[in-house]
Symmetry: none
Subunit: 413 residues, 2 copies
Amino acid sequence: MHTHIITIGDEILIGQVIDTNSAWMGQQLNAVGIEVTEISTVSDTRNSIYTSLQHAAERADIILLTGGLGPTKDDITKKVLAEYFGVDLVFNEEMWARLQGFFKQLGREANESHREQCYLPANCTMLTNEMGTAPGMWFEKNGKVYVSMPGVPYEMKYLMEHEVIPKLITQFRTQPIVHRTILTSGKGESEIANLVADIEEGLPDFVKLAYLPSLAKVRLRLTARGEDEGFLNDFLNKKVVEIENKLGDLIFGYEDETLELVLGELCKEKNVTIGTLESCTGGLVAHRITSVAGASAYFKGSIIAYSNELKTNLLGVKEETLAAHGAVSEATVIEMVQGGLKTLNTDYAIAVSGIAGPTGGTPEKPVGTIWVAVGNHENVKAVLVKGTKNRLKNIERTTGIALNILRKFILKY
Amino acid sequence: MHTHIITIGDEILIGQVIDTNSAWMGQQLNAVGIEVTEISTVSDTRNSIYTSLQHAAERADIILLTGGLGPTKDDITKKVLAEYFGVDLVFNEEMWARLQGFFKQLGREANESHREQCYLPANCTMLTNEMGTAPGMWFEKNGKVYVSMPGVPYEMKYLMEHEVIPKLITQFRTQPIVHRTILTSGKGESEIANLVADIEEGLPDFVKLAYLPSLAKVRLRLTARGEDEGFLNDFLNKKVVEIENKLGDLIFGYEDETLELVLGELCKEKNVTIGTLESCTGGLVAHRITSVAGASAYFKGSIIAYSNELKTNLLGVKEETLAAHGAVSEATVIEMVQGGLKTLNTDYAIAVSGIAGPTGGTPEKPVGTIWVAVGNHENVKAVLVKGTKNRLKNIERTTGIALNILRKFILKY
């Protein structure tokens, strides 16, 4: 069973936008045993879309299109699909009622171009897009499935998760593929690989182990294929236990969990409150903590003390400490934690101060020198993180490290 | 003249790697007037590569392949190309001499698998890759050019810059393509489209206008093609002025600028300081401001007052205000700004408080009800943002809106 993704949009062809949609779709489809065999990016012109549909239909069973469905004139996917299937565009009352409700909720009114969006090819099944105005459209012809989705990533993701993947799984019998993902933080890919080398060497042919590194995180993904799903599940569960025995508290979670989610669950379980004191991470640690629904149960707040003035006034960092050691120092982050615990009135706090770059380094403290301290009212612990010259990468990586340090500290103290 | 990029690699199809090569190639080619009309990503199997070559040759004049040229066994592009052109693989002495020298310089020795790499299709012109061991290969057949390059980004980039683009420019008389991108915030895609409808309708055939919406932002991209680059530039410059006259301060920047960058430039120009007071955005406004290198020149800090206790203690929001109007209210965000200006000691401050969701709404204040206030020591202004039920989307969209409101306020007051 072959799947072909067609991404429509000149912005990708001229390199203004990188196509991350297809990679995400490839991951999700793969996880349910649907193999993507080709990805095409084509221009938003009638001929390009039409030809790519013909080309895909020659070889694929499932054809997924993204892009070209908005309310403006450059969006022509819908018209080309109607032409391709030899059907008319028909006004969809259900969709029009939904759009009017959608805009009413936003305190606005649906306009003529939104009304235009409600004309859909006669042979399509509409897939409701709760994230925006353009619907998903599902077509079947000669045993093949065609799905058209908007190109806006969160709209496409919503439709894939809630509509497209469940329908595809029902319609196509796929050979079981079973995955287990183990999430680690604290060591790099090759160190993790060394720790589990024995397990990896002993794996049978039907199991694959992949390392998926990203900033402050390495995911280990076990994939097993075969006829007997129960056997595959049992086998992978055993391997997960073996890996847990090797990696210990380097493992922070499983599957789609995030550090911030696991941290939040831990805070709820222990009934403790947390806060952050941030300089170079500029609020990203707080943002990640509060991206979890219900974070207000344990997260009280943060102080982003970018200037030394605020480090002193709000966090009580001593002027002598700043003068003697500088804002980027072990002594400063420790005082930030101690002051922050009082100012925010929390059980735990984490502080970050560093030189994110790309400039601002000195021979003693090069760009990428970042201090992290974590503590409660009894203990404080500081860690030096060494980064690169890339500002955003330093900020994002340190944020992950800080969340993991806070998690391990709460587990221990 | 059509150009087709073929990217070879299973790692892209399963979403383990995002294809950034094609976007870079699209940018570079576009800049010299060579239009990329399709990008295909295919599996590294003989059939996939062969079929994609046939398919590309039906419609493109230039076919650029990346990937599948390394020394390991899964790299078969070279063999498929020899088969496609009906030629043998021939040992290339010049390349072997170069590889031996290359490894000698690294203090190592070329091995058997490197020697294997020196067998090239008989009809190819070798392009020297100074960055690695796999060469570029240039083929011509029936007036079409085929180029094969390694998939490693810096090796591909070296070959494109030093060999491929110069040769393509010489061989194909290219037609200039000129772009202008106008960045707006504050209205949706269809509202923007309505405002510039007259201009869009009057555009000649050689100019295209595309709308690229994302959260709290719509980009307008004008593309012109023709013989006379100077004329095209003049024409687009005039159109940009016409659009500026229609959209006014909805426009926040041009080309690759971001809201946070433009805001930072404005603060430096006016020599003012800013800070943020955040509840539901949880630090994301501060993070975006501090993602700009050099933000410490104008950004002093933030208070993330997630709990009411901190809104009162750190920002001086009155308990009566919270009791009478709630934390998500016009009165509260206004007091947050007033208190924040004092606590942070900045010239301007912006405050956000809302119900990000997915739960926590009431009939009077449904999920997605978000108040934003902005002010200096003389004026404060509040705005109600209505969002959806999606937590992260609400946070990200409100952050964009807040940055834009702050920008407009500083411009005005």
